[in-house]
């Protein structure tokens, strides 16, 4: 409490100083200020509508918004919007840029923000502005330490008057308190009213510039004070159809510290009385069509989560392993996949990722947010566009099937609130052929394996090259290769036989003798060649001791084949002759039929023998 007193005294002192200085900053006059401050969550959100009038002769191009330093250090988000009122409806036009400025001769304990107007405000002109701001850590738990059964009380301080370098003609302040409303104390001024859920100050009229009147509210707030001390969001783009998001949370309950012992029994029995200040779950609002959602920590999967969704959103409710009391921490990871075509686009030869910046968890304050966008390997010309300033750097990440690593854009921003959940873009160039790096890598991996097998099968790793078993093996290999060659020749012979048969069939179909004769001629010569080739192989087998047991089979095979060959040639010439003489007749037919029977039987035997040799 002492520190708060100090703050207030200091502020009072400053305001006195400032007011006492007869300084007219500008000719602007604020005709009406309507301030609404929302204290229903841990984030203090203020909505201020200003009606500005230019009373002076010079036109004005910027409006200054001062904030006391103790508020400015908690400021997470600030925008100014020009509103146009037409009758009762309001329309928003431009979002104006707000930047920190340092006008001369101003008291040092104020931080100044300047809003540049879209067009200069001439003499006598009016303008409506809406200023939205969000502050974190602006609610101070008091008492700072509570037990399990206590409700959490917080303190809020601000000024009843709108702090402005301009004179304010009329103003009011409304503070919205969380439900159920329980107010311990609040600063009572003239025109102060506490209604069911709101605390109202004002209206106050005709106040000079730099008016400041500290107020304080002490009330119950049991909403989740979930603060992520660090959140690392990794967004990994795969052009094979997915944007994979992994979020590592380091969460703390930033409300009043819990003291004394924790009784799980009490908590389970009456969670609303014996654990009012705790929160037991967080709700994350994921984009629609999110898939492969997981929720885990270092130990493993956390089963207390549920997921449901429709066409516009996916809701993930996660429950930490224990209820979160003040000062308690938990660290966990959630991950999900999103369809690529919802977030990745192509425009003017460049690809860009369009995805939201902040965390999907409701009402979460992030003290330090690190967003890492992992682009596919081979991305070039990377540039980032964000709606607010962030610290940007690049690094390289190695993941599945990478050679040179994937480029990573790292965006860092302190003090992030849900208002920062805006879309940002990462632009890059990517050749379509780079998509085939990964399959090519897998293919070459498999191919190296096959090449290694080929080399292994061809190499001879025997150490003792003179051992009898090795020599025997070598000889046997030789025999085997010769037998295979013999088999190959026999197979070729059989193919020639088939060719002759086909020529005979053609003959009976077309009646042309010439092509049939040509086939016969070719077959004769190639058969002769083959039998010549067969001779050295056969003599090798006869000389080799290892081949003794297969030699009879090989001999038999060659003999049978020769017989088959003879019969077939005979059949061929018989048919051709009878065709030429056009005699036909039963005699030739019956001869051919008997030959055919023998041929079929022999063919069967040759095939059987070939199979037998295969098995050896």
């Amino acid at each position: 409490m002492a520190t708060i007193r100090c703050d207030l005294l200091l502020l009072w002192f400053i305001s006195c100083c400032v007011i006492s200085a007869p300084m007219v900053f500008s000719d602007l006059v604020i005709s009406k200020v309507d301030r609404r401050i929302d204290l229903t969550s841990q984030i203090v959100r203020s909505f201020t509508t200003l009606k500005v009038e230019n009373d002076g002769a010079n036109s004005v191009s910027e409006i200054l918004l001062p904030l006391p330093d103790h508020q400015a250090k908690n400021l997470a988000f600030l925008i100014a919007i020009v509103t146009e009122e037409k009758g009762k409806s309001k329309s928003y036009s431009d979002v104006l840029s707000v930047k920190v400025s340092n006008p001369d001769g101003m008291p040092p304990s104020l931080t100044w923000y300047s809003v540049s107007l879209p067009k200069e405000l001439g003499k006598g002109e009016r303008l409506s502005l809406e200023i939205r701001a969000a502050f974190t850590h602006a609610l101070r738990p008091f008492p700072e330490k509570i037990s399990q059964a206590d409700a959490q009380l917080v303190l809020f301080q601000d000024s009843a008057y709108y702090l402005s370098p301009y004179a304010v003609k009329g103003q009011s302040l409304t503070i919205k308190l969380p439900q159920p409303v329980r107010v311990e104390s609040y600063t009572k001024l003239e025109n102060t009213k506490l209604t069911e859920s709101e605390l109202k100050y004002g209206p106050y009229e005709n106040l000079p510039a730099f008016s400041y009147r500290p107020i304080m509210a002490h009330f119950m707030s049991n909403g989740p004070f979930a603060v992520a001390q660090e959140l690392v969001r990794e967004i990994e783009v795969s052009h094979w159809g997915s944007v994979q998001i992994t979020e590592h949370y380091n969460l703390i309950h930033a409300g009043a510290q819990s003291t004394g012992e924790f009784s799980r029994l009490d908590y389970q029995a009456r969670p609303h009385l014996r654990g009012a200040s705790a929160f037991r779950h967080c709700i994350a609002r994921l984009p629609p069509r999110a898939h492969s959602v997981y929720y885990r920590d270092e130990i493993g999967n956390i089963s207390t989560s549920s997921l449901w969704g429709d066409a516009t959103k996916t809701i993930l409710e996660i429950e930490p392993r224990y209820p979160m009391f003040g000062g308690w921490r938990t660290a966990f990871t959630i991950g999900y996949g999103l369809p690529l075509h919802d977030f990745l686009f192509q425009s003017q030869g460049k690809r860009f990722l369009n995805i939201s910046f902040g965390s999907p968890i409701n009402d979460l304050v992030i003290e330090n947010l690190i967003v890492k966008v992992v682009l596919p390997e081979g991305s070039k010309d990377i540039s980032v566009s964000t709606p607010f300033p962030v610290k940007e750097s690049q690094e390289v990440k190695f993941s599945h099937l990478d050679l040179v690593g994937r480029p990573v854009v790292v965006l860092e921003k302190p003090n992030v609130v849900p208002e920062h959940n805006q879309y940002f873009q990462v632009y890059y160039r990517f050749g379509n052929l780079s998509l085939f790096r990964e399959p090519l890598m897998l293919i070459s991996g498999f191919f190296f394996f096959f090449v290694a097998c080929i080399i292994y099968m061809r190499s001879d790793l025997t150490i003792s090259k003179s051992s009898p078993s090795y020599l025997a093996k070598l000889q046997w290999d030789e025999v085997q290769s010769v037998v295979q060659q013999v088999q190959g020749i026999i197979n070729e012979c059989l193919a020639i036989h088939d060719k002759m048969e086909t020529s005979l069939r053609d003959l009976s179909r077309t009646g042309e003798v010439q092509p049939c004769k040509a086939v016969r001629k070719a077959a004769d010569s190639s058969l002769k060649e083959l039998s010549k080739d067969l001779k050295p192989l056969l003599s090798f087998l006869q000389s080799s001791g290892q081949a003794a047991h297969i030699l009879p089979k090989v001999d038999e095979l060659i003999g049978k084949e020769k017989e088959l060959q003879e019969k077939l040639l005979l059949k061929h010439s018989t048919v051709v002759e009878s065709f030429e003489r056009k005699s036909g007749g039963k005699d030739a037919d019956s001869r051919v039929a008997t030959l055919q029977q023998k041929i079929t039987a022999l063919r069967q035997e040759v095939d059987d023998l070939l199979e037998l040799l295969d098995e050896i």
Binding site: E236, S238, H239, W240, G241, S242, Q244, S292, G337, P339, L340, H341, D342, L344, F345, Q346, S347, Q348, R351, S399, H400, L401, L435, E438, P439, L440, L442, I443, S444, G445, F446, F447, F449, F450, V451, C453, I454, M457, R458, D477, E478, Q480, S481, Q484, Q485, G488
Partner: protein, 79 residues
């Protein structure tokens, strides 16, 4: 005008095909691999043709490569 030139990018193969493609290509790849090894084991060292070995290996590795890529993708490992 800008809105017209922006078009979403999706994967070259529809994601729903990944499991089927993985099974088909791996099956073909494994059959070709099997034939490669049968060839290696049955044909004696002297009669083996390097070209045939390499071509069988190349075909098998193309099918196995794409098959395993689709298997990874189907099982959620987006490379």
């Amino acid at each position: 005008m800008e809105a017209q030139s922006v078009k979403p990018i999706s994967s070259p193969v529809p994601e729903a095909w990944y499991p089927t493609l993985a099974v088909l290509m791996l099956a073909v790849g494994l059959i070709v691999t099997a034939s490669f090894f049968i060839y290696e084991a049955t044909i004696s060292k002297k009669n083996r043709s390097l070209a045939k070995e390499l071509s069988t290996g190349a075909v098998a590795s193309v099918f196995l490569g794409f098959g395993s890529l689709f298997l990874l993708l189907a099982s959620g490992v987006y490379v």
